[in-house]
């Protein structure tokens, strides 16, 4: 049997103008721009075309080849800007690819954002019909499933209330319910499970499970690795517009969390620092992560983690700051720590070599994966290169005091400070 979705050499190019101050062009601007261009031409007929230079091509997606079988539930993961949304937009035909082709053998319904086309003035009932039609259901289909949709969304009492008076939870439930009852051959879902209360989430998971047993194909984009592992059997990792991994969902999540080819591992940190571009003001010389003075590749959360950054400053600079961001695996920033965060006035750094050291205390990090990003900046002026920072993934192992009697318990927080609990009996009998 042939694949339900075949993607060949898919690419999407955006052209970014460098006159990006105004989001919408106006005719006046265009004419002025055109006039300037003509004037340039007349004055310097032999110069290369300036207009071309001003525009930069940006490939949001490039050379994607993928074939998805009927009944597959494919999780698509990748950091922000990796091209996930662009891929979904092409699959749901909202935007056209610049290269390549996609063959879809079945009806596609997309939930790029639930509630698309909901009109706030219309009642819940009216919106069910309208939204259903927008998502591609016929009048007959909507009528046949109307009761089911309403029951699923639990909004029976508010059917004749304009949705602008709905709580956001009700709104999302209704919107998801409509889409969940579409019964397309291919369902595209983006980040919907992030919203809604626990019991509703459970229902959604059930619905997606049912979609699978009915042989439906689901494409699911999420930052929630747990949900991807739970719901999907295949996983695709996108990175900077390209496909960096395709395999089972578990492997894809692992691959994503570990980063590609170990590029972000602690062992690679030295290489990463050496490859930095030069800057007239500042240069990182070395970044070391140690525990008990020894080099590590995994972090033991029972011991303090020593961070040491060596760098050179070539010019006297006020407000030069080295710092690091501590993020979770989904790249949510947990905290940011600066070398001079405990100063009363902005210090001036004289030229020379420096080493800044800091310690993340023992019994603070949880048994999970963190990303540390090292950066330097001149306050209120510019970020020093590399602007994206030097990134390293920390695999933290549970060895600390926190929760140590319950090792099998799922870690549910972002950090695990072992707080000073005191429990005493109140009625000593």
């Amino acid at each position: 049997m042939s694949a339900i979705i075949e993607i060949e050499g898919l690419g999407k190019k955006y052209v970014i103008g460098h006159e990006k101050n105004a989001r919408y062009e106006t005719v006046r601007d265009s004419i002025a721009h055109f006039g300037r261009g003509v004037w340039q031409r007349l004055r310097h007929p032999l110069l290369p075309n300036r207009e071309r230079v001003d525009l930069e091509e940006f490939w949001a997606l490039r050379d994607i080849d993928l074939s998805i079988e009927r009944g597959d539930r494919v999780g698509i993961i990748g950091s922000n800007g990796a091209g996930k949304s662009t891929l979904l937009k092409i699959l749901s035909r909202v935007t056209e690819p610049s290269t390549g082709r996609v063959k879809l053998r079945g009806r596609v319904a997309s939930l790029l954002e639930v509630g698309t086309g909901f009109h706030p003035e219309l009642t819940g009932r009216e919106n069910v019909f309208l939204n259903g039609a927008i998502l591609g259901m016929s009048h007959r289909e909507i009528r046949a499933r109307f009761d089911e949709i309403v029951a699923f969304a639990e909004v029976e009492r508010f059917l004749d209330t304009p949705v602008k008076r709905y709580s956001s939870g009700m709104y999302v439930r209704l919107a998801f319910a409509i889409a969940a009852h579409l019964e397309p051959e291919i369902l595209i879902v983006d980040e919907v499970l992030a919203v809604g209360d626990a019991s509703f989430r459970k229902k959604c998971l059930g619905k997606m499970g049912a979609a699978q047993s009915e042989g439906r194909t689901v494409i699911f984009v999420s930052h929630n690795m747990q949900a991807v592992k739970q719901l999907c059997n295949r996983g695709v990792v996108l990175r900077a517009g390209g496909m960096s991994f395709c395999g089972s969902a578990e492997d894809a999540v692992d691959h994503y969390l570990k980063g590609d080819k170990g590029a972000d591992s602690i062992a690679n940190l030295t290489d990463a620092v050496e490859m930095l571009p030069n800057d007239p003001v500042f240069r990182f010389d070395e970044i070391r992560l140690t525990q008990d003075g020894e080099e590590i590749d995994r972090v033991d959360n029972g011991k303090a983690l020593e961070i040491s950054m060596s760098y050179r400053v070539f010019k006297e600079t006020q407000g030069l700051r080295v710092y690091f961001d501590c993020c979770d695996a989904e790249e949510v920033l947990l905290f940011r720590s600066f070398h001079d965060e405990d100063c009363d006035t902005i210090p001036t750094v004289a030229p020379g070599s420096y080493r800044s050291r800091v310690v993340i205390p023992a019994n603070f990090l949880g048994p999970t994966i963190y990303r540390l990003v090292f950066r330097a900046t001149i306050y209120n002026q510019r970020t020093l290169p590399p602007v994206s920072g030097i990134s390293v993934l920390l695999n933290v192992e549970q060895a600390g005091r926190y929760n140590r009697a319950y090792l099998g318990d799922t870690f549910r927080g972002k950090i695990a400070p072992c707080l000073d609990w005191k429990t005493e009996p109140l009625d000593a009998r």
Partner: protein, 272 residues
């Protein structure tokens, strides 16, 4: 099993197929526009009665009483009202369709459907207004003792002609509006301007004969003359060269507008 191929260039045949597949959406969106129009209004439907009646009164006062223009074959209020029907239909459709894509931005950037449905549905709301106004016209005709004739049937193709004109312009402006937001400022100006250069407040017979053909380059002239001709009890002959040029121009406007829209629609989601 339907098979869809997504490529960087879409075939025209695919467009027709999609239009057929999504035909119900056209009615749903029109129904939504109608519903929304009268939500949270105090007098609702009465607006579509009050506005044309007031405009008619003012235009009659200005052009007939103050300017003293001739009324040709009809009592002056009927002459004005007969012109206002297609004119309001035209201006409403145009102003609604030209901003329609922007107003439905989130739909355009989130789901696929043939985009041309959006500006086209504006016509349905205007058609409803037109039918309400037709009832008013019937009342006026009874009041002035004008008997209807078989020529009333001509109102159907004439309305179609007005629809083609307004949709043609609407397609042009709504698609240009996606990229150049200043087109929405042009529309109110066009409508205001059009009210004076179209024979709404006066009969086109006041235009000197040597200018008559040039004057008919405005497709709405043909439509308005046609409406009056269809209503008048004993009209003079229709000015055919002008009428035919109106029809041809309306067809060109519609075809070019639709072609431009279909050619640019695939970029809408990227720039809107």
């Amino acid at each position: 099993m339907s098979e869809t191929v997504i490529e960087s260039s879409r075939s025209l045949r695919g467009t027709w197929r999609d239009l057929w597949l999504y035909r119900e959406l056209f009615f749903f969106l029109a129904w939504r526009d109608l519903l929304v129009r009268y939500k949270q209004t105090a007098i609702g439907l009465a607006w579509s009665v009050i506005t044309p009646l007031l405009t008619m009164t003012i235009l009659t006062l200005v052009f007939s009483r103050l300017a003293g223009l001739p009324s040709a074959d009809l009592p002056y209020p009927v002459l004005v009202f007969a012109a206002m029907l297609p004119w309001q239909f035209f201006s409403n459709t145009l102003s609604m369709s030209s901003t329609s894509l922007i107003n439905n931005r989130n739909m355009v950037s989130k789901v696929y459907f043939p985009r041309i449905i959006i500006p086209s549905t504006s016509m349905v709301v205007s058609l409803t207004d037109l039918s309400i106004s037709l009832v008013l016209l019937a009342c006026l005709m009874t009041w002035f003792g004008i008997a209807p004739s078989w020529r009333l049937l001509a109102l159907v193709p004439l309305t179609l002609l007005a629809a083609l004109t307004s949709l043609g312009a609407g397609y042009w402006i709504s698609s240009l509006n996606v990229k150049y937001r200043d087109f929405r400022y042009i529309v109110p100006f066009m409508i205001q301007f059009g009210l004076y250069i179209s024979p709404v407040g006066f009969s086109s017979s006041v235009v000197p004969d040597e200018w008559r053909f040039l004057y008919s380059m405005n497709p709405m002239v043909g439509v308005i003359d046609g409406f009056r001709w269809a209503i008048a009890p004993s009209p003079g002959a229709l000015y055919w060269p002008g009428f035919i040029s109106s029809v041809v121009l309306a067809l060109i406007l519609f075809a070019s507008g639709a072609a431009f829209f279909l050619r640019t629609e695939r970029k809408f989601a990227d720039v809107i």
